[in-house]
Amino acid sequence: MSTPVYLGMPVAPRGVGHLRGEPFPAAARRALADSQLRRNLGRATATIRAKRAAVVGELPDWEELRLAGEAIKTGTMAHLDRYLEQLESQVTARGGVVHWARDAVEANRIVVDLVRATGASEAVKVKSIVTDEIGLNEALAAAGIRARETDLAELIVQLGHDRPSHILVPAIHRNRAEIRDIFLREMGDAPPGLTDSPAALTEAARLHLRRAFLSARVGISGANFAIAETGTLCVVESEGNGRMCLTLPEVLITVMGIEKILPTWADLGVFLQLLPRSSTGERMNPYTSMWTGVTPGDGPQQFHLVLLDNGRTAALADPAGRSALHCIRCSACLNVCPVYERTGGHAYGSVYPGPIGAVLSPMLTGVGDNATLPYASSLCGACYEVCPVKIDIPSILVHLRARHVEETHRPTPEAVTMAAASWVLATPGRLRAGQRAGRLGRLLSRDGRIRRLPPPLAGWTAARDAPAPPAQTFRDWWRSR
């Protein structure tokens, strides 16, 4: 199987990880038929939209913070090579070990080898989308290593043999009754009288994971930020499972996309305001951990940082789409998106759902492997308005549609139609003849609507009606006056 390239840059390889799924229209149609899913999503996204709006409204300088965030990220990408080298030398100087991975396969191999070297057969994991992107849990399982998800939502997903459907709340598609059933069926040590109150379910998860934390030898995490200037890694979370995984094991392995880097320590002053308010709708998330290399007597005494490309340099090579790499994974764009709110995250087929996923996934895999995602949007622009780093998602979607058309050599019905339109509109005579022919369309209509056009135009009416052509054209009417 050959991996496509964009401007000479290899994209994320096929056959590993979770960046590709079935075409969006087919997956979306199935999701739309699930009324329970739509109820769960509608309630959850409305709640979090209101929370975000309230805490963003508290800050008089929110727009200034967004402008700073956007500029910091633009500057980061412009000198990404330099900042990565700086990060590497700072982490190394403080006792950490830095590994580089061209793609998912290489990153998985590095992590599996590191865990094997410890002799441990189990690792505790902090919620991390990038490890899901590369399919790390499957790679560890194949090597006989059990990866235990410790974030409550990731635990629900893992125990339910399910896929995450949201960046922040991966089990957003499940309601409390479904979660109770999963715990009773899969947990092994769930209390028999478990109710479906969120407090009772949370307590069950706490007890279930407590022993794993206290005996963990290897922790695996992602990173929200890494500071080039100081070599500091930063993870934000709410439950304390992150602190457990980052603090108690002897060995810590952090996998990080190369785009998560920030140039300076002071940049955290901007991003630790933008992220929590956009993400959970809180002034600050309950816990944020920062560590620089290894601290004697405090926390893991071995620290490994894996820097991952996996298609990011292919995204970087596209100047019109590069800013998708600015994403800090807050998920605000998911919660305001009219498409996401109805289809949920699974329909996007990638660990990155919603508007940002519709641009990020095709850029990481090459547009050909996620060709339907740039069309999974009404281009309403709500995502751009809430994005804390001002990623112009609608413009990138349009750009990727154009890339898709250019990169597809087979003429599409759309391209044929447009070519025909250009020929017809070229002279008044052709237009007159064309309009006369179009009147034949009235034979297909009922009540002024055409519900089903014949191929190759059938795609247009699969999801909408076409208006019937009028009995008399404007030109005929004008001439008859």
């Binding site: 500029a71 990565l84 409390r176 603090t247 002034r283 405090d298």
Partner: protein, 204 residues
């Protein structure tokens, strides 16, 4: 070619020689402009908003207020970091951490620590692992955390706190007790980190 050389090479090819980036606009606030008393009031309000229990104490009354908090909690045997700035308390067994195991820490009624910095606007307390604050596991495993914050440690905004902190220390930012909203976005306080956070603000 090593993966390192290859990834760096891809980045250089992707970006090309023209690396122009505009300067970062710095129109956001870097000073809250509040008086010390206003800072303390705002911190107390914001901490309470995320379900921390806040008490105020003049320096001389700290032992009395701390003893009251512990009595209310029913906590009698607590672990403390070396260098904690708190006199002995009657009827309370304070055990200094000397590298206790995670399981041993799990058996204490709670932990008492000082702090490095607190942020009023976000209701955040920051520990940096120096004297009186201890290693990170200490304020994590016990189910109850009593944190003593000095008025002089309180700043208004996030950028002010970042400027005060030392990046080479392991840092823990705490904003209320551990919590989750993973089930139907209903907030539940108390997951893996301490389920109860008591804060005593020390100042006039």
């Amino acid at each position: 070619m090593s993966a390192r050389e290859e990834v760096l090479g891809r980045i250089r090819t992707a970006l090309g020689p023209d690396r122009h980036a505009a300067p970062v606009p710095d129109g956001y606030r870097t000073q809250a402009g509040l008086s010390p008393a206003e800072l303390l009031d705002l911190l107390a309000e914001r901490l309470s908003d995320y379900r921390a229990i806040v008490r105020r104490a003049e320096p001389a009354r700290l032992p009395e207020v701390a003893a009251g908090a512990l009595a209310e909690r029913g906590a009698r045997r607590l672990v403390v970091p070396p260098g904690l700035d708190l006199p002995g308390l009657d009827g309370v067994d304070l055990v200094e951490d000397d590298g206790l195991s995670a399981r041993e820490l799990d058996r204490f009624d709670g932990v008492i620590t000082n702090a490095a910095v607190a942020i009023a606007e976000t209701g955040t307390i920051i520990l940096d692992g120096s004297a009186g604050q201890g290693r990170r596991a200490l304020s994590l495993i016990p189910d109850y955390h009593l944190c003593l914050v000095q008025a002089g440690q309180v700043v208004g905004l996030v950028p002010e706190a970042v400027a005060r902190l030392r990046p080479d220390r392991p840092l823990t930012w705490i904003s209320g007790p551990s919590a989750t909203s993973d089930i139907e976005l209903d907030r539940v306080e108390g997951v893996h980190g301490p389920r109860t956070l008591d804060v005593i603000l020390i100042g006039a």
